[in-house]
């Protein structure tokens, strides 16, 4: 096999492993990849793109809602619940975890706690977004070099 392809395959698989090891992704991401096939070759990228769009909307709304004089915690909780759900559905484990803490602060009506979590969830979101974009880039490079992405 072409050594460039081999190298790219190695790069991809090492990178992917690191994402799982560092908790950025969990088994749900693997499940999604298994749902991808020749008739739906872009499924994972599509779902992840939806996740990016939706998360950015939610983070914007959360920022606005927590910035109010009188914070509507039910709204905050609803947004966090959505973010928790989507991150869980794509396997973005670290984002999901922060959402759990976030909801606890909501229940306590603790604005400071919520603001801290908001910052944390933004950080985790940015991290996983970068990681996933890099992962997809490695996949594209491999495909462009004539290689194929190994099934999990």
């Amino acid at each position: 096999m072409d050594s460039a392809v081999l190298q790219l395959q190695r790069q991809l698989s090492d990178y992917k492993s690191s994402l799982y090891n560092e908790g950025f992704l969990d088994d749900q991401f693997t499940q999604l990849q298994q749902l991808q096939d020749e008739s739906n070759p872009d499924f994972v990228v599509e779902v992840v793109s939806l996740f990016f769009e939706d998360s950015e909307r939610l983070l914007t709304e959360l920022t606005k809602t927590l910035d109010q004089q009188s914070v509507d915690f039910r709204k905050v909780d609803a947004y966090v619940h959505q973010l928790k759900g989507s991150s869980s559905s794509i396997g973005a484990q670290r984002v999901q975890r922060v959402c759990i803490y976030f909801r606890n602060y909501c229940d306590e009506q603790n604005v400071e706690g919520c603001l801290k979590c908001l910052q944390q969830v933004k950080n985790e979101y940015t991290l996983v977004k970068n990681k996933l974009e890099t992962l997809f880039k490695f996949e594209q490079q491999l495909l462009a070099a004539g290689g194929s992405i190994p099934m999990q």
Partner: protein
């Protein structure tokens, strides 16, 4: 055993979360089901042709699942936590509808709350899946759809609450069915007196089922 396209099962998936809708759609399509997704319980009822006051308004809905082949729904899978009408409310509406109550309903939830799960099963849900839903969960759906598909072709106007499944029911299923029949009967009597609330904290008026 492969199904011809005309006899493919049609699943209605209800979830307010966009990503979840996309994932459940893929899971169902991978399993060769026809899928319609909607983002609210209200839209689900619209799709099913169920008017708000169906039980007192005798006018037939524009699209009747059992009478018109073009919109036949073989299973409804719905999220529990949705703004406005919850999956639980949707389940109840469906089970209270003479035209829809035979359609199997499955509930999904991201939260593992035993009382919630029991409530849904008691109300007639076939299964309760914890999110994220997996392919092995979706594989459990076929037997539920097989039961009603055969029954619809035999007797679309099944007014009797009793199910007659093709597959031999397990002891647990028989118990569940009996409970469901009981609660269906009770519900019909108390329907006018009660309004549906997302979180049922008060006991039913006849005192038979307290959740």
């Amino acid at each position: 055993m492969g199904l011809a396209p005309e006899s493919q099962f049609h699943v209605l998936a209800v979830d307010d979360n966009l990503i979840d809708r996309k994932v459940i759609e893929r899971l169902l399509k991978t399993s060769s089901y026809q899928v319609t997704t909607v983002d609210s319980a209200g839209k689900a009822l619209e799709f099913l042709g169920l008017l708000e006051d169906d039980h007192i308004n005798p006018n037939p809905p524009p699209v009747s699942p059992n009478n018109h082949q073009e919109v036949e729904v073989n299973l409804i899978i719905t999220d529990y936590c949705m703004p406005g009408m919850t999956g639980y409310d949707l389940l109840k509406k469906i089970k209270e509808s003479s035209s829809l109550r035979n359609i199997p309903v499955v509930i999904m939830s991201s939260e593992n709350v035993p009382s919630r799960i029991n409530r849904c099963l008691e109300e007639g849900a076939e299964e309760f899946f914890l999110k994220p839903v997996s392919l092995s969960d979706v594989n459990k759906l076929k037997p539920h759809m097989m039961k009603t598909k055969d029954k619809n072709h035999q007797n679309p106007e099944n007014q009797e609450a009793s199910k007659q499944p093709e597959v031999q029911p397990t002891q647990q299923e028989v118990q569940k069915q009996q409970q469901q029949q009981q609660s269906n009967n009770n519900k019909r009597k108390t329907m006018e007196a009660e309004e549906l609330s997302p979180d049922r904290t008060r006991p039913r008026l006849n005192g038979l089922t307290v959740v």
